[in-house]
């Protein structure tokens, strides 16, 4: 959904790509080999960025390309909202379906347990371990009493972000959370929940105290000065935590894929130079494999961190007095 807000990440890296291709071509000639099919023209920063950003086509490699439906933009109050099903939107839908199926199967397994049939085994057992850990160690430990109301949100956030991250690692998959707009939307959800929880738990006066904070025992003359200085800082503090949530998830997901694409691009650029070519190909393949394992680990950890920080912030604002 593009609100006409353009984050210029592509443009600065285009020149870098052009210069890199020049240098790659020069290196080929300097090595004394005939620069036949260096493939340097096909792989540059452009091609890398193309694989990471959103697009209206879903490329399935040898199986062709799926043209995703384009819906003309809707005008609402001066903003143009583009509701077409782009690649990232499609993968968000996949992540949603996976999350709903997971929860559904978990509920069915727990009902079977209550009715005395045999205990869940295998993958449902693992899911139950996740739920119990998230509910006890993350939600209840950080929010304290009355925390059960926030457990569904935190657990949904965890599983949704986890599935969205992992879907980027399967063949022909795309990382929906590698889009700053998606992570910003998730962070805004957290913001609304945190501030509403604070407002409900502290009341209007108590909530205002979290912004206009006065340390006790302050001389009356200094009070307005302190308020004037600290109120904007406190407000910015509320938003900076949310912005940090969004950027942390976005940057982690995008950086990993960029590294993998750069390593695989080395094969295309230098793989045909014998005899170094073989070493380049093997080394790049093993490095990419290792980085992909690391990516799986980071997918889990980032989903956990997002959910845990949401729980921590909810707990902090509820216990602010």
């Amino acid at each position: 959904m593009s609100l006409g807000i353009h984050i210029p990440i592509r443009a600065p890296l285009r020149d870098l790509g052009a210069v890199l291709q020049e240098h790659a071509g020069e290196a080929a000639e300097a090595a004394g080999h005939v620069a036949q099919e260096t493939h340097a023209e096909e792989w540059g920063t452009e091609a890398m960025i193309h694989h990471v950003v959103d697009s209206h086509e879903w490329e399935l490699g040898p199986f062709g390309t799926v043209q995703l439906p384009e819906i003309p933009p809707i005008q609402i109050a001066g903003l143009e909202i583009d509701l077409s099903i782009t690649k990232h939107v499609l993968f968000l839908m996949f992540a949603t379906i996976l999350t709903v199926v997971t929860m559904f199967l978990a509920v069915r397994a727990s009902r079977r347990l209550e009715q005395g049939e045999k205990a869940p085994g295998g993958i449902l057992n693992a899911m139950e371990a996740f739920y119990l850990y998230l509910r006890d160690e993350v939600v209840m430990a950080n929010i304290g009493h009355g925390g059960e109301r926030f457990a569904p949100l935190v657990i949904t956030l965890f599983f949704f972000i986890l599935y969205a991250n992992l879907l980027g690692l399967v063949p022909f998959g795309a990382t929906a959370t590698g889009n700053i707009m998606v992570t910003s939307a998730l962070a805004i959800v957290s913001l609304v929940v945190i501030e509403t929880a604070g407002f409900v738990a502290l009341g209007p006066k108590g909530y205002a105290k979290t912004i206009f904070f006065l340390p006790p025992g302050l001389p009356t003359a200094l009070k307005p000065v302190i308020l004037l200085i600290m109120a904007p800082v406190e407000l910015i503090g509320k938003f900076s935590k949310i912005v940090a949530l969004a950027i942390r998830l976005f940057a982690n997901m995008t950086a990993g894929h960029f590294v993998i694409l750069a390593l695989l691009g080395l094969i295309l650029t230098y793989g045909s130079f014998q005899p170094i070519g073989i070493v380049t190909i093997l080394g790049s393949m093993f490095l990419s494999l290792f980085v992909m394992f690391l990516e799986i680990f980071i997918a889990f950890v980032q989903a956990y961190i997002f959910a845990m920080l949401t729980a921590v912030f909810i707990g902090l604002i509820r216990h602010a007095h």
């Binding site: 210029p8 990440i9 870098l16 890199l20 950086a255």
Partner: protein
């Protein structure tokens, strides 16, 4: 040395972008130091009290992820600044 600098500026397309590249390097340097210190403390803590091993490990991984988050903020700013 001056050759390297001019090539850096050429690759990066301008003084601003060249400084952004150096900035990105500094960000990674800071991250390496930070996470390295956590690793050192973790090893020392587990050596002193092996029973607390699991707790220390979990806490260390979470802290390392936070530091890496901050590093990636810096990298995003460097990317945006290299216009």
């Amino acid at each position: 040395m001056l050759n390297m600098l001019t090539m850096l500026l050429q690759v990066a397309g301008g003084v601003g972008a060249g400084l952004a590249v150096i900035g990105a390097g500094l960000v990674v340097l800071g991250t390496g130091v930070g996470i390295g210190r956590i690793g050192g403390s973790m090893a020392e803590g587990i050596a002193r009290q092996p029973e607390a091993g699991a707790n220390i490990q979990t806490a260390s991984i979470i802290l390392a992820v936070f530091i890496e988050g901050v590093a990636l903020f810096g990298l995003v700013i460097a990317m945006l600044a290299s216009t």
